[in-house]
């Protein structure tokens, strides 16, 4: 079976074979010299000629041995890289497991909220109940809910137990702006006092509402609630309509069955506050949006594509971080200037990202699919809904997904880096992105290598 990613041990065995061959050639090289030295001179008619042959043979074999040494080392380096990525993947899995446990706990609380058995107290209908395996039932309920969310089933509960869980769930559940709610019915809104352990989606589900309705009715910008908080419960017939600051409505995907995803509703607050601004952090500086298929990625706002890299990297090939664009694979930085946005978007930029009139929000889209360059707008100007690229699997990935990093900085800050080519880093407002400078768009940026 042909694999892009082979077992590092396999590479090490190959490196050892090469090393043994190298030693063999070195041994031959010594023998070659010795043959020349042992040849008698015969008045310079024999010995010197054989000696010259021995030396030349030795040089040939040593040259071959040197190349083999380099290649054995290269193989070991690739093996090290693969192992390093394995460790990162293990850490990622551990993090994912923690999140899943959190989600399961949320599921338990959900069961508690519905008054169903086998909630967090494990209490079932009888003394012998539940058996150990049954304690996973709430989690299974929750995973079913998550499945419905990820597959976009109509009528599924809409909630966001964790903004760092699966990004698509977050996409559905947590718009970045505060949408206005225009009541279309006449019923009086009810209210609900938040209890310990409540979640927004649990409350919404209990009252036949969507999270968007609940957030809209209460002016919530996130799914965070606290005990004692009183939430307005709108009538389920109320419909949240687009208002000031509303993100563009996702379009139907070009493939028909694949819905377009409005990445304008991805939240970045967490990344801004804790990770992205730390230039020395090796943390995952952004958010991953999982997906299957060629999901189109739309521009969130008005802006311009600052850089892009459509190099067509092999999926999962992580042996060379530099040439692999620091692991981002095919990727793109889009600058969204504050000044170019609608009033509603400016409000978001200002209130949530702290952007000023002279600032821009820079989004970096990583692991994109190949071949998007041909479809980019000629002037690289984008508007909300402009398809930038499609989700891919390039660079450091364990599967198709979109990596999004965000940064706020002075407008035109990307261009300001023209005077400092070669760093391989994109600096914006004290933070850093690892980014290989390329200039396929003719912006005057000097490549680093």
């Amino acid at each position: 079976m042909v694999r892009i990613r082979v077992d590092p041990a396999e590479l090490r065995v190959a490196a050892r074979e090469i090393e043994e061959a190298r030693r063999g050639y070195l041994g031959l090289a010594e023998r070659s010299v010795r043959v020349g030295l042992e040849a008698p001179s015969y008045d310079g008619q024999f010995g010197p000629q054989v000696r010259a042959i021995g030396l030349e043979g030795s040089a040939r074999l040593r040259s071959l041995a040197d190349r083999l040494a380099e290649q054995a080392q290269e193989l070991l380096r690739i093996a090290d890289n693969f192992e390093s990525v394995d460790q990162q993947a293990q850490q990622g899995l551990a993090s994912w497991r923690e999140q899943m446990i959190g989600l399961q706990q949320a599921g338990l609380r959900f069961m508690d909220g519905l008054g169903l058995p086998w909630g967090s107290d494990g209490a079932g209908p009888g003394d012998d109940w539940p058996p150990d395996w049954a304690r996973w039932i709430p989690g299974l309920w929750f995973f079913w809910w998550l499945y419905l969310q990820l597959n976009g089933q109509e009528g599924a509960l809409v909630a966001a137990p964790s903004p760092t869980a699966t990004a698509e769930a977050t996409l559905v559940a947590t718009p970045t702006m505060t949408p206005t709610l225009e009541p279309t019915g006449t019923a009086e809104p009810r209210s609900y006092g938040v209890q310990p352990g409540d979640t927004l989606w649990g409350i919404a589900a209990n009252h036949g509402l969507s999270v968007e309705q609940l957030m809209g009715a209460n002016g919530l910008a996130s799914d965070l609630i606290y005990p004692g908080q009183v939430l307005i419960l709108p009538d389920p017939s109320y419909v949240a309509e687009s208002g000031v600051g509303q993100m563009p409505v996702p379009e139907t995907g070009a493939e028909g069955s694949v819905p377009a995803v409005d990445f304008g509703s991805v939240r970045f607050e967490r990344g801004f506050n804790s990770q992205i601004n730390d230039p020395n952090s090796n943390a995952h500086n952004g958010i991953d949006v999982s997906g299957v298929g060629v999901i189109p990625i739309q521009s969130s706002f008005n802006g311009q594509i600052a850089f892009y890299w459509d190099g067509g990297f092999d999926n999962g090939d992580v042996s060379d971080t530099l040439e692999d664009n620091y692991g981002w694979g095919n990727s793109m930085i889009v600058e969204y200037p504050y000044a170019d946005q609608s009033e509603g978007v400016q409000m978001i930029f200002r209130d949530q990202y702290g952007a000023g009139e002279d600032d821009s929000v820079y989004l970096m889209y990583g692991h994109l699919g190949t071949g998007f360059e041909a479809d980019l707008p000629p002037d690289l100007q984008v508007q909300p809904g402009t398809v930038l690229a499609r989700m891919g699997d390039t660079g450091y990935t364990t599967g198709p997904h979109l990596h999004l990093s965000a940064k706020v900085g002075p407008s035109g800050d990307v261009g300001a880096r023209e005077s400092e080519p070669g760093s391989g880093l994109w600096e914006v407002s004290g933070g850093w992105y690892q980014w290989q400078f390329v200039d396929p768009a003719g912006l005057g940026i000097v490549p680093t290598q």
Partner: protein, 104 residues
């Protein structure tokens, strides 16, 4: 005194007896080099058949040139072995020789 004995120098061309030993050594080295090349080729084939991607291409681009280089070295040693085995030297020896001397 029609005959007399004189000392003369004569050239003698021959293949040194050490040549065959040296040639055999070089031939043996060619053979051992081929064995090493076979091992390298096996490594290359194994990697090429089970590993693809940019890392693989980059590595194998360089590495797949080594077995042929090994073969080339082996051929060279074989050629040198033939060359040494047929290498001759010329020595000049002084030997007594009886020659006829005409009477004056």
């Amino acid at each position: 005194m029609p005959y007399t004995t004189v000392i003369v120098r004569k050239a003698r061309t021959f293949v040194p007896r050490e040549a065959s030993a040296a040639a055999a050594d070089l031939r043996a080295m060619a053979s051992e080099g081929r064995e090493l090349t076979t091992r390298l080729r096996a490594v290359s084939t194994q990697l090429a058949s089970s590993w693809e991607g940019r890392s693989s291409v980059r590595f194998l681009d360089g590495f797949q040139g080594q077995p042929p280089a090994g073969d080339s070295s082996a051929l060279w040693f074989d050629a040198q072995s033939h060359r040494v085995s047929s290498m001759t030297v010329t020595t000049w020896e002084t030997v007594p020789e009886t020659v006829w001397v005409p009477e004056s």
